[in-house]
Symmetry: C2
Subunit: 177 residues, 2 copies
């Protein structure tokens, strides 16, 4: 069974090393990890290659750790939506267990106004006690397994693979049944 390994891991200083570690963990559970192309080459070529890998895969494990803001990496989120629509098994993890409203509060002032939470631009802050936007979180709930988060954020948020391994274990069990 093949698993597409979505995430901003492609933007790490050593993406090939991370690809190797993630693929090895997959192999330990009898799965084949497919790692997206990193940010080299032409962008359209990367798009087509990633789409081909997604179409080949039986499942996605998305690294939804917040990336340059309170939410997950946009490319990863796109891929989660794509895989959900294709009926693939959807798993994801975030190495930051904080709830969305608390994540937003790190970047901007939040206040309560007229029964809602609003940010400095007066835009509503989703406040469902979920770690990120409800579309992603419930896609995982309904089409795979609930978002895997550690009890507390690991020291190395971009390299710790404990929650990733938990996703691999869940994927292996679900794909076998």
């Amino acid at each position: 069974m093949k698993v597409y390994l979505a995430g901003p891991d492609v933007f790490l200083p050593k993406p090939i090393e991370m690809a190797r570690r993630k693929k090895e963990l997959c192999a330990q559970y009898g799965l084949t990890g497919l790692f997206p192309l990193d940010a080299k080459g032409a962008s359209l070529e990367i798009f087509r290659s990633n789409e081909t890998l997604m179409n080949e895969a039986d499942a996605i494990i998305a690294n939804l750790t917040p990336f340059r803001g309170p939410s997950a990496d946009a490319g990863t989120v796109y891929e989660l939506g794509y895989m959900a629509a294709r009926g693939k098994l959807c798993l994801g993890y975030s190495n930051d267990p904080a709830l969305y409203a608390d994540r937003v509060a790190r970047f901007t002032a939040i206040e309560r106004y007229d029964g809602r939470l609003i940010d400095a631009e007066k835009l509503t802050v989703e406040n469902f006690s979920l770690p990120d936007n409800l579309m992603m979180i419930h896609a995982l709930d309904l089409y795979g397994c609930p978002l895997v988060v550690p009890r507390t954020a690991p020291a190395n948020i971009w390299h710790d693979l404990t929650s990733f391994e938990q996703c691999v274990r869940l994927a292996a069990t679900r794909l076998a049944s």
Copy 2:
């Protein structure tokens, strides 16, 4: 023909007014606009309702204006991926025409290192002269129309519908043919 009107517009102070304006513009071009539920009610109910609307729609027009960071709203991006995978016509606009690397530079220091652009966390900054992550931009290129952006950002980035109307016009032409 039905068009799903994705975007962080649901988080505006008056989402129902924006829904009315967008639906009216759609009607002027012979299209039926489907506006997602706003952030009230139970989150799972919102998810299911939005998914039902997406499944009904022939196309998506996604508001990809950057939201709380350099990239588009995560929920909107998820929906774009979903609609691309379902083979629906994909359109989108951003009221901020800035390129991604320039957007990132507003939030964090960027430097050139080893042939790449990196941010303060040493994570690579995509540098393809595109306004956002390549997955979304090329999905529009291949499955609809290239991202619509104004020459310069409008004064009211969350309420100006010039680029939205351009998407409606393109959608009407494409869906008619």
